[in-house]
């Protein structure tokens, strides 16, 4: 047994873990981060990094990528639909496939952006506590209500009407072009074991729109994890998997897998997924809580990988989702335990990490443990050779809990425990499994650190 040298141990050196660690260090705590992987992750972070995270921690060397055009979707007739950051350019591109859709594009973009701004407000603080009797919390909830009302009557209606909708219904209300609806609809099913016709996918669409400019429906990419890893003030131990230790309802530290070493600390903050964090200490938990943790839906549906064509392609972000039906059929296969026969594929070209021209793949839907013939099918979708594709097997949900309406806000990670605490004193959660969830690197980490401090 070693003596207590740390005020806090943070499990996981991803964006959220590092944000929490640095924030705790700023508050004067001696912090150790334990990360299971030996080498730092060089893949791009996908998702909007809240500027407040950057400012508060003084993160430097941050590379924010805002690809333009932000989406290239091949058209069945040849050519491609290219959506740009410039509203006028997108409008022109959409007009070529559907003049009616082009007319609606600006208003659609504005309405979605307004709704995403409501989510943004919710995401930079712990979720509203609807059971509270604390006047300050009640005032905060009232303030949120007022904020929404000030956006106007239409925003209130949209919020109530659109969040539970399916992305297919939402897009069918506005547009006619299959190519446009497929490309937008893909964001609604992003990391979700749901098809575009499933309720709540409109929310998932808006979630991933938070932080993007109006008319841009793909999240930003950055090197935020690498930038955070390069900062001083915390100690990081790599290549060791940490298991939480707890006794008599109190966290006491972690044990490291290979060495068996025990590191003591009165506070453990885990950015790993809630289920695997809590499993080793299940005996300390109330059965109701343990059951709720067991019920977290975190079904992995995405395989990531890389694509190496002979020449660097012209696009920044290629999307193979030609229609909503295409996505729905891809989902149908996964319902019955199979990888999609024709999967939704997205290729993201990034400049971050290991130099120019790296192409990262997002393949959905896959079922962990399968993947027979998947490489070939992805190659076919991209008109490439299988040897140019390298897929990693899919794990549980990268988001540590699907972003469905029953698993967000005060229901995340489990109902009633959304304030980053657990029933074990001194054990906190700060990863994507907590509010506001995956796809917004650093937000959960920041909220958690503020709650802890």
């Amino acid at each position: 047994m070693s003596e207590q040298r740390y005020d806090a141990i943070v499990i996981g050196a991803g964006a959220n873990g590092l944000v929490t660690a640095h924030a705790l260090a700023r508050a004067g705590k001696r912090v150790l981060v334990v990360e299971q992987h030996q080498n730092p992750d060089t893949t791009a972070d996908i998702g909007w990094v809240p500027p407040r995270v950057i400012q508060e921690l003084g993160v430097r060397n941050l590379l924010l990528e805002e690809p333009d055009p932000w989406l290239t979707a091949p058209l069945p007739s040849g050519g491609a639909l290219e959506l740009s950051r410039d509203m006028g350019k997108s409008l022109e591109a959409i007009r070529r496939i559907s003049p009616a859709d082009a007319v609606k594009w600006p208003e659609f973009s504005a309405r979605m952006h307004r709704l995403a701004s409501v989510l943004e407000k919710l995401y930079l603080a712990p979720p509203p506590d609807i059971e509270t009797r604390d006047p300050r919390e009640l005032a905060r909830i009232g303030g949120l209500g007022l904020y929404v009302r000030r956006l106007g009557k239409q925003a209130v209606i949209d919020l109530a009407r659109i969040l539970p909708m399916s992305i297919a219904e939402l897009l069918d209300d506005w547009f006619e072009s299959d190519a446009l609806k497929g490309a937008l609809g893909a964001l609604g099913i992003w990391h979700l074991k749901q098809g575009p016709r499933s309720g709540g996918t409109a929310f998932n669409f808006l979630h991933h729109h938070v932080g993007s400019p109006a008319g841009v429906f793909r999240p930003a990419r950055s090197n935020v994890t690498q930038a955070l890893a390069g900062m001083n003030g915390i100690e990081v131990r790599r290549g060791a998997r940490a298991t939480v230790l707890a006794k008599n309802g109190r966290a006491s530290g972690v044990s490291l897998d290979k060495s068996g070493e025990t590191i003591l600390s009165p506070m453990v903050v885990s950015s790993a997924d809630p289920r695997s964090t809590l499993k080793p200490v299940a005996i300390e938990l109330d059965p109701e809580f343990a059951r709720a943790v067991g019920n977290i839906k975190a079904r992995g549906v995405v395989a990531r990988g890389t694509f190496e064509p002979e020449t660097t392609p012209a696009y920044w972000n290629l999307c193979i989702a030609p229609s909503l039906d295409y996505l729905e059929r891809a989902y149908d296969d996964s319902k019955y335990g199979q990888d999609s026969a024709a999967p939704y594929v997205e290729v993201q070209r990034t400049n971050g990490g290991g130099g120019g021209g790296r192409l990262e793949l997002h393949v959905q839907y896959v079922v962990p443990g399968t993947h027979e013939g998947l490489t070939e099918r992805v190659a076919q979708a991209l008109h490439a050779r299988p040897d140019q594709i390298a897929l990693q097997p899919a794990h549980e949900s990268l988001y540590h809990g699907e972003l469905t309406l029953d698993q967000i806000l005060f229901m995340r990670p489990v109902p009633g425990w959304s304030r980053y605490r657990t029933p074990i004193e001194g054990l906190y959660l700060c990863g994507s499994g907590t509010h506001p969830g995956g796809g917004i690197p650093g937000a959960a980490g920041r909220n958690a650190a503020r709650e802890i401090v």
Binding site: I130, E131, R149, K153, V156, I157, A160, R161, I162, P164, M165, E169, D173, Q194, R197, S198, G199, G200, N295, K297, D325, E328, D332, K335, Y336, T404, L405, D406, M411, P415, G416
Partner: protein, 529 residues
Amino acid sequence: MAKRYDAIIIGGGHNGLVTAAYLARAGKSVLALERRPRVGGAAVTEEIFPGFKFTMFSYVVSLLRPEIIRDLDLPRHGLHILPLESTVTPMENGNYLAAWADHDETRRELYRHSPRDAEAYDEYGHLMHFMARAVKPILSMVPPDPTSFAPGDLFALLKLGKHFRGLGAERLHALVKLMTMSSADFLDEWFETDVLKATKSASGIIGTFLGPRSPGTAYVLLHHYMGELDGVFRAWGFAKGGTGAVSEAIASAARSFGAEIRCDAGVSKVLVTNGKATGVVLENGDELAAATVVSSLDPRRTFLQLLEAGDLPDDFVSDIKRFKFRGSSGKVNIALDSLPTFTCMPDGGPGGRLHRGAVSISPSLEYVERAYDDAKYGEFSRRPYMDIVFPSMIDPGMAPPGKHVMSIFVQYAPYKLNGGWTDAKREAFGDAVVNTVESFAPGFKSKILHRQVITPLDIERITGLSEGNIFAGELALHQLFFLRPAAGWAKFATPVRAYYQCGSGTHPGGGIMGASGRLAAMRILKDGT
């Protein structure tokens, strides 16, 4: 023009009749107009084949509001509800799952499939009972408008917030889950027996264009606990004389209060002068004047068909155009020479009780989900989900002695079928239904004397329900409460003064509940027109 009525009700379905009865009871001169030769709308009993009576469309009663039964004294007007006590689900391996009237027997039956589920069943039942009780008051309230700053709306919203907070954390969380999850996911948290989850979740998809894995279907599980008695997990009732008898009873009550009901009197148009409804024009050209006009038709016909384009504001019109119907269910009515024998329970159980209850063709979650997949892409289900009852077993008056009638509710049959519905497609759909039943009850086909196949298109043609949606508009989360049928217009009034809506397309909608009709009547009386 002759007499000027205080109120004219368009449509003689159960909601229209309830509104008529309540208004007449308050002393108003009321005329209800029905297009068809008989009242009832989708709740009618008809002798389709000589001697065989069918509840043509809706076939069970579970949610009829008790206050309506009381206020209108319906039993005195002939309403008599007989319990449908059990549900048997035949499985593809020849086994079955049954839910009987007796709670302990149901638990023993569940135990046979899974001891764990038998344990969870009671806890689940308690929670659902509680939740149903918590939600029930909402069915009897006028939805507040959250976009309004009117003191009444703000107060109602606060009251609603307080009501829900009063539930306590655990139940509030369960409610959020019920409102947002798919029935399959919700049930996965409780049970492991697939056929149990399939049968329960099947009741969550009725009338929707959703599958058991589609979020938004869990909420409907609650509905089945609202009308429940003595722990039966799907307490449905069957009206003596069929659902048409429910309509007749309400009509009789309305008449007893002085309401006039005219059949064969379709309305082609609502007369509007200076933004105010003044009467109606019948299909035969007659004009009738009224101080108030109330439509019980679905929102599409209430606003887009009965009014002129210029009568309504544009954004309201686009809201109504966006309101979704997507009919997804059909009905097959069969006259039988004798009862079919199901492989899973050849003797029909002690006392033949299988045929006295419902038979649910929902052998597995995958079965029901695949039925939905067919419909998603514009085909009827090759092997559909079915809810079968034998009304003649409960009410012998429905068929000639020794013979039987069988009512098969079928899902999915999309209104927008690829290539459209034709006579050949209708028969093919009927064949799919019959063949599927045959696979669970060999020899069934040879017992069929007559069959009537009803597609969503037929439902639309006969009852007028747009796209054949049995709830007069989908019961999806974004079409409920203050969004039914459109934001700002969920309180039964419409943008046209003196023109009201009272059908299932308004809050709370759906099923033979009558709540919409009653709430609308209250609102009209309060407005004092």
